[in-house]
């Protein structure tokens, strides 16, 4: 199912949540709506599901105007941030719900429902939990059941609101791969909302970066990471150093793009080590530029660190900033080094 979003706007009272958004989602795509809180990403997702009405604009599913179609007729699967599993129903009943509420004419028989539910439980590898209640499940299990329930109605679009937001780091990592695999198997158009750039980069085919109710950039993970169209996208997608030159022009560079040497070379800049901490296979070094006195962070792998290290506070290094990025149309912002 391909989805076309055409000049859609939405406000809650005075607050403009979505401003004139245009988006074309091809069938079978795996899309991340990425942005900080308040960027309108969840509102947009809920509008696609039909859970929010549109103030203006249109949403088409496969070219058909769905703008005013009731939720229950849209054939979307929706996974809620906190799963919204029905507490008074067993896992089996939760998954069967969407089939049981169908009008009599198109409702599958009891046996068919049972088979379908067990197929889905097998699919999410939780067959043994059929008779449990949601309160007896772990967060990761609830997430899988919520997905199974959404898939039970054979949706043509799968929508997930911060699907891994409530899970701890390890489970989150596992489920990311798992969801990716599921998408590859089923190949239904999937849209998920996240504020975690790593999650978006790791999972999605296409990333839609949103800010203040508008789309900043649409592109593959590679495009948005390596070719950000503006400072917001650049800053939101990874760790970043900001430098402000004498013309008040701001230039950016990612910590891993900074080359550190023990001796001066070309146009390298001397800098003093302030702090060194190693994070797994990486070493992050906080430094102080001696020419402008600006603070910045560099990131190198442990091999490289062994070449130039060990470092301690006060050591002198030479840094070269060969990949500095400047966005021309940018408004002046206060000089800060964000790390």
């Amino acid at each position: 199912m391909g989805i076309t979003i055409e000049n859609v706007s939405k406000s809650f009272g005075e607050y403009l949540a979505i401003k004139d958004v245009q988006l074309e989602i091809p069938s079978g795509d795996f899309i991340a709506l990425l942005g900080p809180s308040g960027s309108g990403k969840t509102t947009l997702l809920r509008m696609i599901a039909g859970l929010e009405s549109l103030d203006s604009g249109k949403i088409h599913f496969n070219g058909v105007d769905y703008s005013n179609k009731p939720v229950k007729e849209r054939k979307v699967g929706f996974v809620f941030q906190h799963y919204a599993l029905f507490k008074h129903m067993t896992i089996f009943e939760n998954i069967a719900f969407g089939l049981k509420v169908r009008p009599f004419k198109i409702r599958p028989s009891k046996q068919e429902i049972k088979e379908r539910v067990y197929d889905l439980l097998k699919f999410v590898q939780l067959e043994h939990l059929a008779e449990r209640y949601p309160s007896q499940l772990s967060g990761g299990q609830k997430q899988r059941i919520a997905l199974a329930r959404a898939l039970a109605v054979e949706p043509e679009v799968l929508l997930l609101d911060e699907p891994f937001g409530a899970l701890d780091a390890k489970v989150r990592q596992e489920l990311r791969h798992w969801l990716r695999e599921i998408h590859e198997k089923l190949n239904i158009t999937t849209i998920f909302v996240t504020h975690d750039q790593e999650e978006a980069l790791e999972m999605a085919d296409t990333i839609v970066v949103m800010n203040q109710g508008q789309i900043e950039q649409i592109g593959s993970p590679d495009q948005v990471y390596h070719h950000p169209v503006n400072a917001f996208v650049y800053r939101f997608l990874g760790r970043v150093n900001e430098f402000c030159d004498s013309d008040n022009e701001i230039s950016y560079i990612r910590p891993h793009e900074i080359a550190l040497k023990k001796s001066a070379q070309g146009n390298s800049v001397p800098a003093k080590v302030l702090h060194v901490h190693s994070v797994g296979s990486l070493v992050r070094i906080q430094l102080n530029r001696l020419d402008t006195n600006a603070l910045f962070e560099a990131e190198i792998n442990t091999e490289k660190y062994q070449e130039i290290g060990p470092l301690k506070k006060g050591d002198l290094l030479y840094a070269s900033f060969s990949n500095l990025v400047v966005f021309g149309n940018e408004q002046k912002e206060p000089l800060t080094a964000i790390l």
Binding site: L54, D55, S56, G57, K58, S67, N68, P70
Partner: protein, 279 residues
């Protein structure tokens, strides 16, 4: 608004219709059971003019009934408030076996018929009662006298403050008290500076409900009072006597005092709810 189609407009108006039908039923039900009786009290009380209304209120028996009701509430409410705070403290702030049983025992007056609440004191202190001979020998009157009325009122208003406070205190837990202790507060300081301020709205709410019941109790007080005019009549009992003597206007005039008290209670209760929500 250009996206609103006719189909949507129809579902919207259907939703609106459902809403107003449900509101209509709810309001009709409340009107029938609550508003009309309330209006009836005042309309009957004022039926024969304002002069008769005030005459009914200032007649000596009415005044003595008012006085007795005030005395009863002035004793029962503070006593049960102190109990409620202490019981809620013991129940909510500590864990011990049998807590659920204790809470249920405190609930007994809610489950017991007011008539039975009066009866137990007649059986205990009446002339045929367990302590009757002893009381008679020492010339102490409890039943058919003011002490009986106070005891019966204590019984029926017993759980109000405690029941209001227990869930509030349980929800608050003991973190703040423990922090206070660590910072060096002694028991009294902890209680008056931490525990009590945290429950003030709930406490006020409980006291209001307790007072309304204390002033309005009928069944229990009726059984122990002996209905002695000018002596053991509270306002509700005075209403009953007037009503049974077919003196309806006077009965409703006195009843209107209690209705005003009830309305005042509701206003106070709403204010307290509003204030506590604001915090």
């Amino acid at each position: 608004m250009n996206t609103k189609t006719i189909a949507q407009a129809n579902t919207v108006s259907l939703q609106g219709l459902k809403k107003w039908v449900l509101i209509g039923i709810a309001l009709a039900f409340l009107g029938l059971f609550i508003v009309i009786p309330l209006i009836a009290v005042f309309s009957e009380a004022l039926k024969k003019g304002i002069e008769l209304y005030f005459a009914a209120l200032t007649e000596p028996d009415a005044l003595s009934a008012i006085k007795l009701t005030l005395i009863t509430a002035a004793i029962a409410v503070p006593v049960n408030t102190v109990f409620g705070v202490i019981a809620a403290y013991a129940i909510a702030k500590f864990s011990f076996r049998g807590k659920n049983i204790l809470v249920t025992l405190i609930d007994i007056p809610f489950a017991v018929s007011p008539v039975i609440a009066g009866l137990v004191f007649v059986l205990l202190f009446g002339s045929q009662g367990l302590l009757g001979p002893f009381l008679e020998a020492n010339d102490i009157k409890i039943v058919f006298a003011v002490p009986g009325i106070i005891l019966a009122t204590l019984f029926v208003t017993f759980p109000f403050v405690a029941r209001e406070l227990i869930p509030i205190m349980q929800e608050q837990g003991t973190d703040e008290e423990q922090a206070g202790r660590i910072l060096g507060a002694n028991g009294w300081q902890m209680f008056f500076r931490i525990t009590l301020p945290n429950i003030k709205w709930g406490l006020l709410y409980g006291v209001i409900l307790c007072n309304a019941r204390a002033m309005g109790e009928f069944g229990a007080v009726s059984v122990v009072s002996g209905h002695i005019r000018g002596m053991t009549n509270t306002i509700p009992l005075h209403v009953e006597i007037l009503y049974n003597e077919y003196n309806f206007t006077a009965a409703f005039a006195v009843a209107s005092l209690l209705a005003i008290l009830a309305l005042f209670t509701l206003v106070l209760k709403s204010v307290v709810e509003w204030k506590s929500r604001k915090e």
